[in-house]
Symmetry: C2
Amino acid sequence: MCQHTAKPATPPLDSYVAPMPGHACACSGRAAEGQNRPPAGRLVPAAHELDFPPVPFPSAHVLEALGEARLRALVRHHHKLLRESEIAHLFAPDPAEFEALVEVIADYVIEACGGARSYTEARGEACMRTRHFPFTIDERGREVWLEKLCHALIDNGFPSDIRQEYWNWMEPFSIRMINRRTAKAQPLRLSWTEAVQRFTPALQA
Amino acid sequence: MCQHTAKPATPPLDSYVAPMPGHACACSGRAAEGQNRPPAGRLVPAAHELDFPPVPFPSAHVLEALGEARLRALVRHHHKLLRESEIAHLFAPDPAEFEALVEVIADYVIEACGGARSYTEARGEACMRTRHFPFTIDERGREVWLEKLCHALIDNGFPSDIRQEYWNWMEPFSIRMINRRTAKAQPLRLSWTEAVQRFTPALQA
């Protein structure tokens, strides 16, 4: 089904990997500091958890180049792949319900690209992180979602610059949907070039 | 079982509630900005998720005043209450396994208070956030855990200053165990006084 025929040569996304500040687990930090025993009454400094990199939304060029129909086709194909993936359980098992959801997501994508405002007119402010809270999304789930997006962008034959611009939106955006952490490390960052290398290894042979 | 007889009058914890930076969901921020339509190609700035307030570990006074046996009794009582709570599913159902776990946790508490190093000698660096990743801990789960700690601190009849110092450790520390977010708001902050008011309403009548 996936042909993965494109090999776009695009510069890598600027690396944005903020290190985990200190020992955010509030463990002693003993190993790092070479101490044998942490002092009583020590103060573990403030820190924070998941970093959200900047999210560049698509320019008007994406919608102008593709039109709404091809954007909608991308969302449909992406979700067809997701439905066959290890995160299929995140979506409604009922086919009609699933298809209705996909059209809503396509409405969101089209609006985010500067198109018709169907999404917010029907549903109000998008606030996607909030809307995803009921669904458990961990780092691995995001990577599967990105893998299928990479395949869908290639399968749908979009121009290379459009693929990259769309990816540069969705790659950091998807981090903001993570609501279940399973590791201290920040989520994987992948430029479009790195994604193609990682998710379509047959193309690299 | 819980008598909740103490009414310590302690100053509230310094409020540390960092506002959620911007629209971390990467939604348009339209409502906040009064715009009818977000511009195509906009850049949603970097942000981050869960704030970890500073964690003041107990001073040597806590262990000196209580001794290891009373600290261990506190941990046992706390977990007895947890086992009857809505987060009981987070613990081993097997009684022997549960009891063994409680002793390990008591080892950790005693060591964190400056006592015997049984925990790290047996298990290595504590790194509590990492050790809790396999268990789904959300904001509500943390509040239940804190409620039972409040009850245990009162039930065990610890001196007021010790209760407060122990609470001032565990209240921010417990935020670092949250690994499942269900809302954009930062987790509830509670001073010891506020906790007593919230979790032992009968005492306030």
